[in-house]
Symmetry: C2
Subunit: 435 residues, 2 copies
Amino acid sequence: MKIEPRLYRGMRDILPADMLIREELLADVRETFRLWGFAPLATPAIEFRDILAGKYGESADRLIYNIEHKDGIALRYDLTVPLARVVAMNRNDLPTPFKRYQIQEVWRAERAQPRQGRFREFIQCDVDIVGTDSLIADAEVLALSIDLLGRLGFPGAITRINHRAVLRGLMEVCGFKPEEEMDVCRIIDKLDKIGEDGVREELAECGFAAENIDMLMKTILSGDGTGAMLDEVESKFHDNKRIAKGISDLKRVLNFAESFGVQPESVRFDLALSRGLDYYTGTIFESVVPELPHIGSLTGGGRYDELIGLFSKSPIPAVGITIGIDRIITALLDAGKVEHCKTPTRVLVTIFDESLAEKSIDLARKLRAEGVACEVHLEPVKLKKQFEYADAQGIPFVVILGEDEIAHGLYSLKDMRAGEQVELDFESLIRKVVD
Amino acid sequence: MKIEPRLYRGMRDILPADMLIREELLADVRETFRLWGFAPLATPAIEFRDILAGKYGESADRLIYNIEHKDGIALRYDLTVPLARVVAMNRNDLPTPFKRYQIQEVWRAERAQPRQGRFREFIQCDVDIVGTDSLIADAEVLALSIDLLGRLGFPGAITRINHRAVLRGLMEVCGFKPEEEMDVCRIIDKLDKIGEDGVREELAECGFAAENIDMLMKTILSGDGTGAMLDEVESKFHDNKRIAKGISDLKRVLNFAESFGVQPESVRFDLALSRGLDYYTGTIFESVVPELPHIGSLTGGGRYDELIGLFSKSPIPAVGITIGIDRIITALLDAGKVEHCKTPTRVLVTIFDESLAEKSIDLARKLRAEGVACEVHLEPVKLKKQFEYADAQGIPFVVILGEDEIAHGLYSLKDMRAGEQVELDFESLIRKVVD
């Protein structure tokens, strides 16, 4: 009995056209990380369940894929808990600070919405600096993420920045209790999705006082995002120690970031940025491309000083950022900055007939020696069929090598886009097919 | 309660020193695949159990990791069955022939022997040509694998080649029955591990006649591996149709391979090469580095015309090769062709004191703009500690930027290996730190 070929919901095959874009993007990302002195790490897909359990909150625990095995094992849910484990297990082999990047799949049994780009398997791409509370580190990951977006074709990306201490101080000033702060953070985080009215409604439903809500909303939605706004907030709330500390940190981070090459206009101080995750303790940031608002944030991160020490004897400060690879690919395609192509091949060398196959194969060898990605048509079928293959694959150049060409030491080259065919010697052929 | 940080047996973390080698190797491998006109594919880690079950033999079925889930899902066991599924599900979107490479992890619940390099999670790196029985395709994957080994630093690698039809014809000639052929193949495959006597013993234990065993062993161990040997075998066994067909195929493959750039002396016809897997139907090959016999084969593959059609209506011919990434890394390290380093950073820019931090950060920005991988020390601790960090990380150059240097527009550069320190302007600094 034949088994019906099919995919488990939330999984996807990545066919060549998408993979070619993805591999090129990841190569650029890795190169940028290395330029900034970050080193790669990989951890296994399978971890013990008790390493993962209880780290992501109750509802997330239910989204972990468990493996049927007596030893109690499960699939990786993110890259941060494995990093905490690695740091605890390799203290003597890792430097302090430890600057690492990690690009690997994670698995979550969430409701899959493949059309909205929500999958149960996806790549996470994390950069973190572990082991220092220096604000230069905050500035470095901030500047790295902005540099990276610029290199990928988004020099106009805007990074919103805020500080958890400022947010918490603000809530204090607005009359919220300390135990309410995380709930409020999580609701504010929905601002982009449900709008100001939606946030006000949800806060009211939680039973918070109308005047507290009103004061908070007015404050977080005010300001122009510039450096001057930092001064305004500082002087307005100078009595609150948390706000004072947060603003002072932010000023230093932005100052260092400028030395790292960040243009002041690409960063916007935004009191409404809260990032939902509980674990942030200091700076938080998030980057968007203003021309592509529907895509959401392309990068996001911040300082989290209590998570990495999970498996160690004492807390270990850390700051990091996640790069949204899938979203960046969507953004690149939407902005027309990359194009799908089905194959890396630039030149198809046809086979005129079986007896001349070696001549064509030999030409392919010579083209490769010049660094030109090429392939020989593998079957000596009619030339028409070979051209159809090149056309369907979007291969830009096709070479014909018949007896006439061989006799004259020439090659017939067809430019598939222009539709022109010319006879050339090898040197001219190379010049023509190399960009 | 703190959870003890630990790894499930057979899993490994790949720390920066190993990852840097691995990423560079994989980048070279991908570039070579693309140069030969192969396109990348990725499939999900999670597949339905019934897609995987029964494809690898009974004992292998027990090595599949099942996931606890009502839908009956499991972890990928290899990249070939997923390829067969992809081919069946995307017939209209994929070209014929489909030339794809795929580099992804697989998981097997085997007995783990981490010290011998046997893990339960490992990378497979497969190149296959699906949809043609053209012998040019066999020659192409053969030539690609030899080209790749050359580019990676092993131009002296030797590829053993044989043909399943020749092997089966030989067994026929030696008096074995058709239903015994696969068992004999699997035993011959152990020749490198258990030696001639071991193979003879195992064959005898299976109850095969002594004279059959003797004739088979003498034949497969004879010959010098050259092209002349093909003629000898051909004329010696000219009555056997399978041998005649196999030898004729091999001659054509080797002929095409030469046009693809393969040096005749790097291929050796070897009647004792059988490759254990049941599914091969034609050419088979395997590459080793003679100077590093302990490492085993670095690549291996062949033609398998009955597997890819598993989920399709009719058989689909295919030929492919697997690149042993882990073994190649071991071989590169053993041969001294690569060195471990802990970080991509070439230059550490120290921070003289907190007030001069921006100057150091600014220099790092300028170095990066010139393409030099560098990092700023993130904390303004004593210079001695900053040098210790560079030393422990194996960073080759350290820059000091104090008030004197700033006043004169110069940089103090210490070459950590040579132990020399010089004062340079920016241009001379760049020249010095770039290889």
